[in-house]
């Protein structure tokens, strides 16, 4: 492929990795702190997408402005789900929590399907698809904006975990639950907060995706899988790792996609498995 194409593909990959980072952010937090692989993550993303969609369709709210709404809504939902359900089985065997979240996924997705029907939706604004050109490389505004917002949220979460009282408690609890208790942490609350933040981030990711890809209730599953892969690629335990993982995933996906599209996923997963065997702790991460 020519230089121009290479440049374009490179930019595509960069833009994609931003969104993927946000997609995996909450997933990684919940996994890292609570050791729960949340298969319902995808359904949270879908909910975020629907919130943005309806705010735009019915009230004409600009999709970017609806992101905070989606985050708050999902945060609340996440808190409820954690306190109500997940907290009840959190010390059960690994697979129990796994299947619980799987059940949740089915439940939420099909409720959406039941109430909003399976119609394909997407948020299209006046500026959809517009962008600017660098040399021969197109940079669409929405994807650029999405990249920006993803990075801002990633940075925000990193700051929150580092600099705030609760954030510190969240990390502490993830490292040593009993020692955290000895400093007065109420673990159930911290877990709820962690899960809620994770859900909130998923909501934001959903809002962004609603502008980028056409979606229906089944959108989420694929993104849960991507988040899973990204966390493994990047490794847990650090927000920065998510970005690295997302970048690796995006670049492999886009570049392989450009050469042999029909095998893109196969190659991505082959690389994933190899990495796991060679570096179980993830490319950037420390062993967890």
């Amino acid at each position: 492929m020519g230089g121009a194409e290479l440049g374009q593909i490179f930019v595509n990959a960069v833009l994609l990795s931003g969104i993927l980072a946000l997609v995996a952010l909450g997933f990684s937090l919940v996994w890292g702190i609570m050791n729960i692989v949340n298969l319902a993550h995808g359904s949270f993303i879908v909910l975020g997408a629907y919130i943005t969609f309806f705010l735009h369709e019915l009230l004409g709210v600009d999709p970017f402005l609806s992101i905070p709404v989606a985050m708050v809504a999902l945060f609340t939902l996440g808190w409820g789900i954690q306190r109500g359900l997940i907290n009840q089985v959190i010390r059960a065997p690994l697979l129990a929590t796994f299947l619980l979240t799987f059940g949740l996924e089915i439940l939420i997705v099909n409720l959406i399907n039941y109430f909003f029907k399976a119609d394909v939706r997407s948020v299209t604004t006046a500026y959809s698809g517009t962008g600017f050109t660098l040399g021969s490389v197109r940079v669409p505004y929405i994807r650029l904006g999405a990249l920006g917002i993803s990075l801002v949220l990633v940075a925000l979460l990193a700051w929150y975990l580092r600099a705030t009282r609760v954030g510190r408690a969240i990390r502490a609890t993830g490292m040593d639950i009993d020692a955290a208790r000895l400093t007065g942490v109420k673990v159930a609350t911290i877990y709820a907060a962690t899960f809620a933040i994770g859900a909130g981030m998923a909501g934001a990711a959903g809002s962004l995706l609603s502008m980028i890809v056409p979606f229906d209730p089944t959108l989420g599953g694929g993104y849960t899988q991507r988040a899973f892969a990204i966390c493994v690629l990047g490794g847990l335990g650090n927000v920065a790792n998510v970005v690295i993982g997302a970048a690796i995933f995006a670049f492999v996906d886009v570049f392989v996609g450009a050469r042999l599209p029909s095998l893109s996923r196969a190659v991505t997963f082959a690389i994933l498995v190899l990495l796991l065997i060679l570096r179980p702790q993830g490319v950037a991460g420390k062993r967890v």
């Binding site: 692989v37 359900l85 089985v89 129990a96 996924e105 065997i277």
Partner: protein, 324 residues
């Protein structure tokens, strides 16, 4: 005395199962066959996931390999009869499982899970694109076989064999060793157990069962596509069945498969549009109240002199697994 009664009951059940095709409509028979096939997969998963404690998330890969090997051998230029083809599929799966198992069984927990999942995804896409062999996404078509009884009896046979295998396994050194690995790998090693070897064997076993189920399903559905035979749904179903029934128990997988398959079929025919939602609710409730499966209710060993299960234990379960 008690034993005699148990045996009598078992024989009666067996007789019923054998007579079933005469008693029910061929659709019901199909549903039962599906249940048996799911039970077969679950029995397989139970070896690696239940007894050895490794959360294998890619067993559908062996389901698919079994299906395609069986199918491709039966059609094309060979026209191998069904059972030899099926055996070949099982063998190939076992081989693949051994080769893959050696590296990935060193991973633990979620990392092992995603590795197996990745393998399954990759294989599915290979099947999707390798037109020259698998006819790609178009899929292959096996010879038409219409007798529902054939599939029912075959599946029934396999499941019974599976039960015997599992029972033998759980009494054997191998089974004992695998459980030791699940409970504590260091302790297991110190007890003189070659952990790597045992894990690989358990993994290969689970692959064989998945392959048998796959080949059987292929012959039954006739039409085999990567989309249908490599989809993660199968993996999840076998895990759910095992967990619901009770992982690491002899009867658990079959019991779980029965509950899951029959429940979902029922919900299916009753609620046209809400059935997946209801299924979700059922799974959630099961996990919340019986995170360790039905056998914790039914399978309490008598010689341990345990009291029978009380409803209050459900709440006890919840309390036991909650954090405050």
């Amino acid at each position: 005395m008690k034993k005699a009664a148990a045996i009598a009951g078992f024989l009666a059940l067996l007789a019923l199962l054998v007579a079933l095709p005469r008693l029910v409509s061929s659709y019901k028979l199909l549903t039962y066959t599906r249940f048996l096939i799911l039970a077969l997969m679950a029995q397989g998963w139970n070896f690696i996931g239940g007894y050895t404690g490794y959360a294998a998330f890619g067993n559908v890969a062996y389901f698919g390999i079994g299906a395609y090997t069986t199918g491709l051998l039966m059609i094309g230029k060979w026209h191998v009869p069904f059972f030899p083809a099926l055996a070949a599929g099982a063998l190939l799966s076992a081989l693949v499982a051994i080769l893959l198992g050696l590296p990935i069984l060193r991973l633990k927990g979620h990392y092992f899970a995603i590795a197996t999942l990745g393998v399954a995804e990759a294989l599915s896409q290979v099947a999707d694109t390798w037109d020259s062999v698998t006819e790609g996404s178009t899929g292959i078509d096996l010879p038409l076989k219409t007798e529902g009884e054939f599939f029912y009896y075959t599946a029934l046979g396999f499941v019974i064999v599976g039960l015997l295998c599992t029972a033998a396994f759980s009494r054997s050194k191998l089974g004992n060793g695998c459980v030791a690995i699940r409970e504590d790998q260091d302790a297991a090693r110190m007890l003189g157990i070659n952990t790597t070897l045992f894990k690989v064997i358990a993994y290969a076993l689970s692959a064989v069962f998945a392959a048998l189920a796959g080949g059987l399903t292929a012959y039954q559905n006739i039409h085999v596509t990567p989309g249908d035979f490599f989809k993660i749904d199968y993996t999840l179903q076998m895990i759910i069945a095992t967990i619901i029934g009770g992982a690491g128990t002899v009867l658990g997988p079959v019991l779980g498969a029965a509950v899951f398959q029959l429940l979902s079929t029922y919900v299916w025919s009753k609620f046209l549009e809400l059935h997946p939602t209801i299924l979700g609710v059922i799974i959630v409730l099961f996990i919340v109240f019986l995170p360790r499966g039905l056998m914790t209710v039914l399978g309490r060993k008598r010689q341990r002199g345990e009291r029978p299960f009380r409803m209050s234990d459900l709440l006890a379960n919840v309390r036991a697994h909650r954090v405050t």
